[in-house]
């Protein structure tokens, strides 16, 4: 099969994407021009920067740094507010439609009611999908835990947003929970049409010289290569318990990373920090690497999806040998008996 003939299109909540690579929220999602540029460069869908109830300036710099293993950011949900966002989304959507690339709006809020209000508002721009970013602090929670932190708060937001809009809803989950599968099940039961996993992992960098945190906001969210194993695990665990499509997001920078994410059970793949590595061209490169990989392995996207969940087939005889709980006595050199009860 030729590479050109490889079908990369996927479906998310009834919507067809020309390819599974979704621009993640918060990356270049501030301007129609930049979102269109990503679509032209090969993105299969575009997520706008998260918009909240009111305009926010975001945090003072440093607000995004490369620590070697990935990025740590505390942009601070800078956004023009839902009001202005409607116009931005409408303009963007019109331009993306010509390219056949769907637009995903992203929303956040400080209370469940405000989530519903922003969803309703933003729906006027008729984005193809609405992603609900529940990684923001729940003002009702003493420690400022995110809505994504508890099944109850996550489900409450989901239900409120579903009631407020007719547009299909993606709920975006956070990695800092004891069981992301439990949260996933709760939001799907509350009506989520799809999931996005994961948002950044809370982290901090400290400048040894000054002794102060590098980000002016002190803590921030970790993304990029260091996040990949966390994201793969999240997607895998979620795919075990829910049937809705998952946009697997976190540390994908190559076609092979994307194949791994689909193998974990994702239907589409979010691309964020990789845009830092080579700009919007990351989309074209990753899509090309995926095609090359699929051709080289004689597989279709559908065959790749979820295959990490299967059991390896080995002849019955080949079940692994039992693992000794300590070096087996018979392998110790008899010449020198070893001391220690455990050894």
């Amino acid at each position: 099969m030729s590479q050109a003939a490889v079908d990369l299109s996927v479906e998310i909540a009834g919507l067809r994407l020309p390819n599974p690579l979704v621009l993640a929220s918060g990356i270049l999602g501030t301007h129609a021009s930049l979102m269109v540029r990503c679509a032209r460069a090969g993105a299969g869908a575009i997520t706008a920067k998260s918009a909240g109830p009111v305009p926010r300036g975001g945090h003072v710099n440093p607000s995004c740094v490369d620590f070697g293993g990935g990025l740590l950011n505390a942009i601070g949900l800078a956004n023009p507010g839902a009001e202005a966002e409607v116009a931005l989304l409408a303009e963007t959507r019109a331009q993306l439609a010509e390219l056949g690339v769907p637009l995903i709006a992203s929303i956040f809020a400080d209370t469940v009611d405000n989530f519903a209000r922003v969803a309703e508002h933003i729906s006027r721009a008729a984005p193809d999908l609405i992603e609900v970013n529940i990684s923001c602090p729940n003002v009702g929670s003493e420690f400022g835990e995110p809505f994504a932190g508890q099944p109850e708060s996550a489900a409450a937001v989901t239900a409120a947003v579903k009631a407020a809009t007719g547009i299909p809803v993606i709920v975006k989950l956070a990695p800092n929970v004891p069981s992301i599968a439990r949260i996933a099940r709760a939001v799907v039961e509350a009506g989520a049409d799809a999931l996005c996993a994961i948002n950044t992992m809370p982290g901090m960098l400290i400048d040894a010289e000054s002794g102060l945190p590098v980000l002016q906001n002190r803590s921030g969210g970790l993304s990029g290569p260091a996040l990949k194993p966390i994201a793969l695990n999240a997607v895998y665990q979620i795919a075990r318990v829910v049937q809705v499509p998952i946009i697997g997001t976190g540390g994908v920078s190559t076609g092979q990373d994307a194949i791994e994410m689909l193998s974990a059970g994702a239907s589409a793949v979010g691309i964020g920090s990789a845009v830092y590595a080579d700009g919007p061209d990351a989309f074209g490169r990753i899509a090309r690497e995926m095609r090359e990989w699929l051709v080289a392995h004689g597989l279709t996207l559908a065959q790749v999806r979820g295959r990490a969940h299967r059991q390896a087939k080995w002849p019955e005889a080949a079940t692994p040998a039992p693992v000794p709980h300590a070096p087996a006595a018979e392998t110790a050199p008899p010449a020198t008996p070893r001391a220690g009860a455990a050894s």
Binding site: L28, D66, F67, N73, D207, S210, V214, Y276, A277
Partner: protein, 255 residues
């Protein structure tokens, strides 16, 4: 890890950005009543037109054009909280630096016209030195509101640039704006290329002038920068990211 994944992860790691690295101020040289050049105890692999993010922990981090790479130097106007704090630094004090970032000026031809407005002269001095070191012709026009705002004129002259000064109030050099000084040059002895950094209205005027004459121009623009590495979108200008596609943008000669 696979070779591919490894090479990618390393590419990520080897990006020049990294974390802010601590430097010490070696000298803080007053340039005019509100502008200082700070010289640091580090050298940069930087090209003219590139910028660094300077950080004062717990305060703020802002972009500044590289005025000199080895040693690293920046020419900074005290206009707000951060730049005023930088002005308070003395030799021996620490300041942190990320970068260099951004796309530099690329010299085209051997006869260059450099235009600097305000602290926009800083990258022009760097560019002038680079071009002169290669024996190329440099004409430099430095514009300001009044005489006391003029910047780095002596340094440009020492670098071997033919120098024109303009002030809006006529208190020094030619009265008027940089465009007034340039128009006759473009007509009588046009350079191979135009390079400029300064306030956006100045750049816009130069863009029109260059376009009218079909002269290749490279203009360095400014925007509020957050990430400085091309992912947040803050520095957008007409579909371009000023932190990575810029700050120097080619001005198509055919506008």
């Amino acid at each position: 890890m696979t070779d591919l994944a490894r090479s990618e992860a390393r590419a990520f790691l080897e990006r020049p950005a990294g974390l802010p690295r601590p430097c010490r101020v070696v000298a803080a040289i007053p340039e005019n009543y509100r502008t200082r050049t700070i010289v640091l105890d580090t050298a940069l692999e930087a090209r003219p037109g590139q910028f660094c993010m300077l950080w004062l922990p717990g305060l703020d981090e802002k972009p500044f054009s590289v005025q000199s790479a080895a040693p690293a130097a920046f020419t900074i106007a005290a206009v707000g909280p951060f730049s005023r704090a930088v002005h308070r630094l003395a030799a021996g004090d620490r300041i942190w630096l990320r970068g260099p970032f951004g796309r530099p000026f690329r010299r085209t031809g051997r006869d260059h016209l450099l235009v600097g407005g305000g602290y926009g002269v800083a990258p022009m001095l760097f560019l002038a030195r680079e071009a002169r070191a290669r024996g190329e012709r440099v004409r430099a026009v430095v514009g300001a509101r009044e005489a006391r705002d003029l910047l780095l004129a002596d340094a440009l002259r020492e670098a071997g640039a033919e120098l024109w000064l303009t002030t809006e109030d006529g208190s020094a050099g030619l009265p008027g704006r940089v465009t007034d000084a340039i128009a006759p040059m473009l007509a009588e002895d046009p350079p191979d290329s135009l390079y400029a950094c300064g306030p956006h209205p100045m750049l816009a005027a130069l863009a029109r002038l260059a376009a009218a004459r079909g002269l290749p121009a490279q203009l360095s623009w400014e925007a509020y920068m957050r990430c400085g590495i091309g992912i947040c979108g803050s520095c957008e200008q007409e579909g371009m990211l000023l932190c990575t596609d810029g700050p120097v943008l080619d001005q198509p000669a055919s506008v």
